[in-house]
């Protein structure tokens, strides 16, 4: 392993462009991904604010954007979903923190393929520019939702935004798939090939396991979406009929024949369901890491955690049909998909039990990263428990395509994953930038955000139970929906407050990066390899030394040890897991 590490070594660059723009250093690339995702999340959040304002005040004339028309609402919805799923939930946890910390946590000087790593970031950047461009072309951004079901997404005449905007949308996703495939290859090779001496697979931090399994999912899932996207582009522009049968739009017969709209749904969700785990697995990893560190206790059931993540990854590829119970798919296959979906709840429950087990009889320290990790567990439980409702096709008869679904996935893959990112940010910014973040503002940010996200997303379940359909630009045309408007009002006010609180976070982040108190090498008294090196780490991560690992990743509170934590590089004190 040491030899392969040497073979990949590259000298520290000198010029500004090679150092900060087209850098080969995984740490710089990680920071680039992080700031790309931070930009994207503000765009996505601004879109959601406009949506919420429109939902409660449909005819309001807003500053700058004016009155939002129904088709514009649908464009906001489409772009919000796409930007959040791809450029935030996939980009920050894996591309950002994974890129920065995976090599350091396994004791490697860089990623296995630094050039590929740089290429993967800049490809992601091109994808982001492409999707943003969709706002500015004639017809505007597409209105077909982030799931882009054809024929709506395949036919220009089907609605505004389905022209060039839709082409840019699908092109952006295809480019993003390429970038993710490159990234996944790099993560897998690095984890398998570049681990330091003594860093066995079962001594890897759970963060590394989560990035590793996420990379496997990415490698298998994004290829399918890429192919599906190319077929959609062909249907749109080359007159093929993969997804579109003979249809009449606005009284005009379209030139397609014999295609299957369900084919897209199968391909899309074959990617789309693993994508849920791509978003949440790194959050699980960082939550495990932080819970153990701040509980001053070994993680409860390390092996069970690893097996649970592997099981989630494995079963994650067999449950896509649960998105299609109402699609016209065979009711018999719904039976199988439902059973497998219930099955995937089991490893998720195991993880929750183990997190609680880690906190049991601990000595918990409540710095901001820990608050966010506890928030993650709470949201993961709340979002997870609506899963067994939606996994039952018979309940989907009522709940499918209502706000119940919107509440479910926002809690679990939206804000739980975001809480994972917040936890990671507060935890690792000291290592990345050499400065501590402000604790008081961190705590204030946490409590507003936790209460706020519950206030936004919990009422969505009530709305859905009452039959509140999703993707409606306004609830004015259907009598029973009009009665549900007070719920929309409550959620809109909650969203305004919660979004405002996010300014606390960015101000704290940027202020701390430049002005925060200097961070020591190991401010959290943690055990994994990133805390053994300088802050911020040198170009080759360990300053010419190759770390040798003797311990598991979470040796806290070891009886008889000199201090309450034993670092991975310390002399061996406990048997390996």
């Amino acid at each position: 392993m040491a030899t392969s590490a040497t073979a990949h070594a590259h000298a520290a660059p000198q010029g500004f462009i090679r150092k900060y723009i087209f850098s080969l250093d995984h740490k710089v690339i990680g920071i680039q991904y992080f700031f790309l995702a931070l930009t994207a999340v503000w765009v996505g959040m601004a879109l959601s604010l406009l949506m919420r304002l429109h939902l409660y005040w449909p005819s309001a004339v807003l500053p700058i954007v004016g009155e939002i028309k129904p088709e514009q609402y649908l464009s906001l919805l489409t772009m919000h979903g796409t930007i959040m799923v791809f450029f935030v939930l996939t980009t920050a946890p894996q591309g950002g923190f994974g890129n920065y910390f995976l090599p350091i946590q396994i004791g490697a000087p860089d990623m296995a393929f630094p050039v590929l790593n740089m290429l993967s970031f800049w490809t992601t950047f091109v994808a982001f520019v492409t999707i943003i461009a969709a706002f500015f072309v004639s017809g505007g951004a597409p209105l077909h939702g982030w799931t882009g079901y054809p024929p709506l997404s395949a036919i220009q005449q089907a609605g505004p935004g389905e022209g060039l905007g839709a082409d840019l949308w699908i092109t952006s996703i295809a480019i993003f798939c390429l970038a993710s495939l490159m990234g996944a290859l790099n993560f897998l090779t690095t984890t398998l090939d570049m681990r330091a001496k003594g860093m066995t697979m079962m001594r890897m931090p759970l963060t590394v396991w989560s990035w590793f399994i996420t990379a496997i999912l990415g490698l298998l899932a994004f290829g399918v979406l890429l192919s599906a996207g190319i077929l959609l582009l062909m249907d749109r522009n080359l007159g093929t009929s993969f997804y579109v049968p003979l249809v009449v739009v606005n009284g005009q017969i379209m030139g397609h024949k014999g295609g299957s709209p369900l084919l897209w749904q199968h391909l899309f969700w074959f990617f789309g369901h693993p994508e849920v785990y791509i978003a949440i697995l790194p959050g699980m990893g960082v939550t495990s890491q932080i819970l153990s560190t701040f509980s001053r206790k070994p993680i409860f059931g390390y092996k069970a955690m690893v097996y649970a993540m592997l099981a989630i990854g494995f079963f994650g590829f067999m449950v896509w049909g649960h998105h299609m119970f109402m699609s016209g798919m065979s009711p018999y296959s719904a039976f199988a998909f439902s059973l497998l979906t219930m099955g995937i709840g089991v490893p998720s429950a195991i993880k929750t039990f183990n997190w609680l087990g880690t906190m049991y009889k601990a000595r918990i320290r409540f710095q901001t990263p820990m608050l966010y990790a506890i928030g993650f567990v709470s949201l993961f439980v709340s979002g997870g428990l609506s899963g067994p409702f939606l996994a039952q096709p018979v309940l989907d008869i009522q709940l499918h395509d209502t706000y119940f679904v919107v509440g479910h996935f926002h809690l679990i893959m939206g804000v739980a994953a975001i809480f994972g990112m917040f936890a990671a940010t507060y935890y690792w910014v000291p290592k990345m930038f050499g400065r501590m973040m402000n604790e008081t503002w961190g705590r204030i940010h946490f409590f507003i955000t936790l209460l706020g996200t519950y206030a936004i997303f919990m009422p969505m379940h009530y709305l859905g139970i009452a039959g509140g359909t999703r993707r409606y630009s306004q609830y004015t045309e259907v009598a029973y929906l009009q009665k549900l408007m007070p719920i929309h009002g409550f959620m809109t006010y909650a969203a305004i407050i919660t979004i405002a609180a996010q300014f606390i976070f960015v101000i704290n982040l940027f202020w701390s990066i430049f002005k925060g108190p200097k961070a020591s090498d190991n401010p959290w008294q943690a055990t994994t390899l990133e805390w053994t090196t300088a802050t911020p780490p040198p170009h080759d991560n360990f300053g010419g030394v190759t770390p040798v690992v003797h311990n598991g990743p979470y040796e806290y509170g070891v009886p008889g040890a000199a201090r309450d934590y034993v670092m991975q590089t310390d002399p061996a004190v406990a048997p390996a897991h």
């Binding site: 024929p151 089991v346 009889k361 309940l395 359909t469």
Partner: protein
């Protein structure tokens, strides 16, 4: 800080639970044979998941407070886990989830595995941007063929669904914009769409099914209460999705027969 977490997590937990338990917003009144089963399965799932929700959240808040670090805290329990416990909670969760699934599956099978009986009322439902049309075969019990070449959505009615009026079976076919159904009879709907995917959702009847271009999907349901029920399109179909609205009138068999006869008379 531990206490603050306990208070906030418990507050969120109790507030969330209250609105589920108080049924402040609840399933719309059920008006079909399936409503009892579906609502029962929903309530069962809600109770079981509610217990897990309360237990997990309350424990999380309690642990945060109870095991906060204090000068007087005892040393942590140094443990890498407990295999027996892992096996126990894995087994329990598996039994809970799979059991729940199997119970729901019986209802699903009754709704979707079998075709409608021969005496069911036949209605063809056609979705298009942004309206629903309903076609009844008339006394001959036969739907005449339709053709995309004849479709003219702007004309509405028969022309919108592309009815081939030259076919003898078309003479008694009725096309309307509102659905009429007799109470206490099974309804065999044949769902189709001419342009993009729509979804035929009638919350009170506990019925939802996508209408997919290129497919003709047969589904059945059984209204049990006379009344007027709203249809809301449940699959994003374009800019008018939010107003793709319709009505189902469930009436007595007599009123249904009169209504059909009146439509036939209008047509002749």
């Amino acid at each position: 800080m531990g206490l603050a977490l306990l208070v906030v997590i418990w507050l969120i937990t109790f507030a969330s639970t209250y609105f589920f338990a108080a049924k402040t917003w609840w399933l719309p009144a059920g008006a079909s044979a399936a409503a009892g089963f579906i609502d029962g399965q929903f309530t069962l799932t809600l109770v079981l998941m509610g217990i897990v929700f309360l237990a997990a959240q309350l424990a999380l808040g309690y642990f945060a407070w109870k095991y906060r670090e204090r000068p007087s805290s005892p040393p942590v329990a140094y443990s890498h886990g407990n295999v027996k416990l892992e096996i126990v909670w894995t087994a329990l969760t598996t039994v809970l989830f799979i059991g729940l699934n199997l119970m729901g599956s019986k209802v699903w099978a009754s709704q979707r595995f079998d075709a409608a009986g021969p005496d069911a009322v036949q209605v063809e439902v056609t979705g298009m941007q942004f309206a629903w049309y309903f076609r009844y075969p008339g006394p001959d019990g036969k739907f005449a063929p339709t053709s995309v070449k004849l479709m003219d959505p702007s004309a509405g009615g028969e022309a919108a669904v592309g009815l081939d009026t030259s076919n003898p079976d078309a003479k008694d076919d009725i096309v309307t914009g509102t659905m009429y159904l007799p109470v206490d009879r099974e309804v065999d709907v044949s769902l189709r769409s001419v342009d993009v995917i729509h979804s035929f959702f009638v919350p009170n009847l506990r019925f939802k099914q996508d209408a997919v271009p290129g497919l003709n999907i047969h589904m059945h349901f059984h209204p049990t209460q006379i009344g007027e029920y709203e249809i809301a399109c449940a699959e994003l179909c374009g800019l008018g999705h939010y107003k793709m609205h319709g009505m189902v009138h469930v009436v007595s068999q007599d009123d249904y027969d009169k209504w059909l006869a009146a439509r036939e008379a209008e047509k002749q």
